[in-house]
């Protein structure tokens, strides 16, 4: 009896059938080779794999600087952004649905994913001077056809940590879309508030909210000492 019990208990000590996933799938979200910066934890794409019972997607998050990374099993996947993910458009197939990219994983793989952003932020400079953060940028409208969208607002965010966006900031300066006269000359300035505990640097970046699109497009995060 006891022997049987021990046999049962030890049977559960066997190794799992599968090894953990080994392959790294990494890369960036890019437009013509330039990475697209987004808000942390807000933009993700889906990987689908057929042949294993019911479908469900693996969600892969895109980091602030437009990079992503996932540990996967070897196999064939289909990669897709669901509609309205990210501050960009994803190409559609003939039926008007989001098209997929076939991704074969056999060992680690690096891949840049090309997307079509509504706008690109060009020539951004962010500097700190006299207790303020000053920023300049230009906006280039990339999508100009029927899918084009207006700018809802442009914001300069600063924060005491490297995560900088609408919900993580200590101060912000916003220009509404209606107030933008010249897309090639945007200036913003925000006073740095008191920080406890004191630190002599802040992180800053510019975000552009496009009307009717959830996710903002950002500049890379700048660390500014003052």
């Amino acid at each position: 009896m006891i022997g049987a019990l021990i046999a049962v208990l030890f049977a559960s000590c066997k190794k799992d059938n599968y090894d953990a996933p080994q392959a790294d799938f990494t890369g960036r979200i890019v437009y013509k080779g330039e990475p697209i910066s987004v808000q942390y934890g807000q933009v993700n794409f889906e990987l689908w794999q057929s042949g294993f019972g019911n479908y469900s997607a693996i969600n892969v998050n895109v980091s602030q600087d437009g990079t992503y990374g996932a540990k996967l099993f070897n196999g064939d996947y289909k990669l897709v952004f669901s509609p309205n993910q990210g501050p960009f458009l994803w190409k559609k197939n003939a039926a008007g649905k989001q098209d997929t990219i076939a991704v074969n994983i056999n060992g680690s793989k690096t891949m840049d994913i090309e997307v079509m952003p509504y706008y690109m932020i060009r020539g951004a400079t962010i500097t700190a001077a006299a207790g303020k953060v000053n920023a300049f940028c230009k906006l280039e409208k990339i999508i100009t056809n029927a899918n084009a969208k207006d700018i809802e607002n442009v914001s300069l965010y600063i924060n005491k940590t490297q995560f900088v966006d609408g919900s993580n900031n200590i101060a912000t300066q916003q220009i509404s879309g209606a107030a933008i006269a010249d897309l090639n000359n945007l200036n913003m300035s925000v006073t740095i508030p008191g920080i406890t505990p004191t630190q002599n640097y802040v992180f800053a970046r510019i975000g552009v909210k496009i009307a009717g699109v959830d996710d903002l497009i950002f500049t890379p995060v700048s660390k500014l000492s003052f």
Binding site: G41, N54, S82, P83, N84, G166, S167, N169, G212, D214
Partner: protein, 640 residues
């Protein structure tokens, strides 16, 4: 001798058992196997007796869906109406965004419920034993409930497969004949409206029936559904559409829906059977009693009722009673936010922040703790227990501590804590914080500075776990009918009619200077529904149908400056992503004219760490992957 007798008895007993057993086995198989179960009733037996049918209908009513309700106080803290002062619920203020699956209402349970209703309707139609009037009322009630479920589904999911018959699987291995595509969003709204129109004259037209379907309940639901459809059409957004119409309503249909909404509301109003609750001349007490008075309440049209000493009682009062006078060592969970409190306008119809500081930023000193709230809409004190006001005859003790002349704060970290030698020149032990808090991070204390009053039961024992509360949950009431009519009339370009309907609701709130037709704006209507229906489960659906949710809950964080001398309180698009509070302090400065007067500070509870972000993909909840896998005809909702 005695022993033999006993032996004989035992032998007889065995003989009897043996005989009975053998006799049993001599019965026919069919007589033995075809027994009626004693735990359930056969269908045809039920449909002979109206009382038995009523028990079935009772179960169907019991499964009627609500999202925010007094049986789930925490759901009121998911947006900006309230703060959750309970350690297991702080996460509600710490999640940036709402999942795409939030508010999903489409699973096996929902279609199982619809199947039960369809089956009930089918059997009712086949039954012949009931009196026709009884049977017709039951059938109309089932159709009313079914319309309510489809309305609930369409407001959460958009168009869904419209199933009105009982579907059975034939075990052929091919389920495709059971796979229905999603109906258009308009088709579901049209179905709901048509069903309610069809049953309204079968249902009793009786204002004293409040927990079962009546003519007015059908019309009230119709008015709300048509209003939702109309505003979705009017405020439609090109991103919130699907090519097949499963989501999105053409703006050309807006006026037709608003017309239907107004007509349904007018039918209740002109019927004259309902009126606003005005039993108590004290307007705030009156507004609070509206929700708890179950004796001939002329305002309630359709409610979920409860009963003490049964398992149909609820713990809303236990969960949310003021901690200092609680009948158990708990309460105080739902704390109305400053966001909501400051929305209640002043009696001259203007909006203003709570005056913690004057126009130039200097603190304002108040002799009485309630003075800062004076001269506001009477619904404020009827909805919220303000510092210094009473519940069940006991004054709540909400103040956060002493503020010394140099600005130092003296406070404690537990309910009504006392400390000695903390005040200048006063070695005695003094209470340094209210017995209801607020203490930041202490659950059950009034962490926003307020407790909720709406739906709190004034009956003795309602705060005890052994008794609980039987206050009902009002799903439709007359004030909503008036505001539906006002909004529909306004959207149809008739502000005079709108002003007339809105006036009745505002008069009851003590706002006696009537708004002129020119003052009726979209923002006014949004505002009126916000303050009238706080904690009644309207906010999410209203913000969704007006397409305001992504603007108001836009993920940007807020600061105290947004609550001090704010000039956009009446704006429908004012950001409200984080809940704030207002804490009273006693000013301690012996010799100063303001000694022991009250000052107020706008605070953000430290547990509020994230700003709510409602994404465009949240307007229609995502459809479960299991549903998509099971039926290839289902299309996904947009922007997810």
């Amino acid at each position: 001798m005695k022993k033999t007798n006993q032996m004989r008895k035992i032998i007889y007993a065995f003989a009897a058992i043996a005989f009975l057993s053998f006799a049993q086995s001599c019965k026919k198989d069919s007589a033995f196997l075809d027994k009626q179960p004693t735990s359930t009733l056969p269908i045809d037996a039920v449909w002979k007796d109206p009382n038995l049918v009523l028990t079935v209908v009772g179960d169907l009513y019991d499964r009627y869906p609500d999202y925010q309700t007094i049986e789930a106080w925490w759901t009121f803290t998911d947006f900006d109406e309230g703060f959750a002062s309970a350690s297991g619920d702080y996460f509600r203020h710490q999640n940036l965004e709402y999942g795409y699956d939030a508010w999903r209402y489409w699973d096996m349970g929902v279609y199982g419920y619809i199947r039960d209703l369809n089956m009930f309707i089918k059997r009712g139609q086949e039954s012949t034993a009931l009196k026709a009037e009884d049977r017709d009322r039951f059938l109309a009630e089932a159709r009313f409930i079914r319309a309510g479920i489809y309305f609930e589904m369409v407001k959460r999911m958009g168009g869904v497969p419209l199933i009105t018959t009982v579907l059975d699987y034939d075990y052929s291995g091919n389920p495709s004949y059971l796979q229905f595509p999603r109906a258009k969003e308009t088709e579901i709204y049209d179905f709901v409206i048509a069903e309610l129109e069809a049953v309204k004259n079968i249902l009793p037209d009786n204002a004293t029936i409040q927990s079962r379907a009546t003519k007015a309940a059908a019309l009230a639901m119709e008015s709300r559904a048509a209003l939702y459809a109309g505003s979705i059409a009017k405020y439609s957004n090109s991103q919130l559409t699907l090519p097949g119409g499963e989501v999105g309503i053409s703006s050309s249909l807006a006026n037709a829906y608003f017309t239907k909404s107004l007509a349904a509301a007018k039918e209740i109003i002109d019927g004259g059977k309902y009126s606003l609750y005005k039993k108590n001349p004290n307007l705030s007490e009156n507004f609070a009693a509206l929700f708890t008075d179950k004796g001939s309440n002329p305002e309630v049209i359709f409610a979920k009722d409860f009963k003490l000493k049964t398992n149909k009682a609820h713990g809303f009062t236990i969960d949310n009673q003021p901690r200092s006078s609680a009948e158990e060592a708990q309460g105080g969970r739902l704390n109305p936010s400053l966001n909501l409190v400051q929305s209640f306008e002043k009696l001259d119809n203007t909006y203003a922040s709570m005056a913690s500081v004057d126009g130039s930023g200097n603190p304002v000193y108040y002799t009485n703790i309630t003075d800062i709230f004076a001269g506001r809409d009477a619904r404020l004190a009827g909805t919220v227990i303000l510092p210094g006001t009473q519940f069940k005859g006991k004054t709540v003790d909400i103040w956060a501590g002493y503020q010394l002349a140099n600005g130092t704060i003296i406070t404690g970290d537990n309910f009504g804590q006392s400390k000695s030698e903390v005040l200048p020149d006063n070695p005695a032990s003094v209470q340094v914080v209210g017995r209801d808090g607020p203490v930041d991070g202490l659950e059950f204390s009034a962490q926003s500075g307020f407790y909720v009053r709406k739906y709190l039961d004034p009956a003795t024992g309602s705060g005890q776990i052994g008794t609980r509360s039987d206050v009902w949950w009002i799903r439709y009431r007359y004030a909503e009918v008036l505001l539906n009519a006002a909004e529909a009339a306004f959207e149809l370009g008739d502000p005079t009619t709108a002003a007339n309907y809105i006036k009745q609701v505002r008069d009851r709130a003590g706002l006696t200077v009537a708004l002129t037709p020119a003052q009726i704006t979209f923002d006014r209507i949004v505002h009126e529904r916000k303050v009238e229906f706080a904690f009644e489960g309207h906010e999410l659906w209203d913000m969704k149908r007006w397409r305001l949710a992504d603007k108001v809950w836009n993920g940007s964080n807020m600061s105290a400056a947004d609550f001090i001398n704010a000039n956009n309180i009446g704006s429908a698009t004012r950001t409200s992503t984080q809940v704030f509070g207002l804490w009273p302090y006693k000013y301690y400065n012996p010799g100063n004219a303001n000694h022991l007067k009250y000052v107020f500070k706008v605070i953000k509870p430290s547990r509020v760490t994230a700003a709510h972000r409602f994404r465009i993909g949240n307007y229609y909840s995502s459809i479960g992957q299991d549903v998509l896998n099971g039926n290839p005809k289902i299309v996904r909702n947009p922007n997810q």
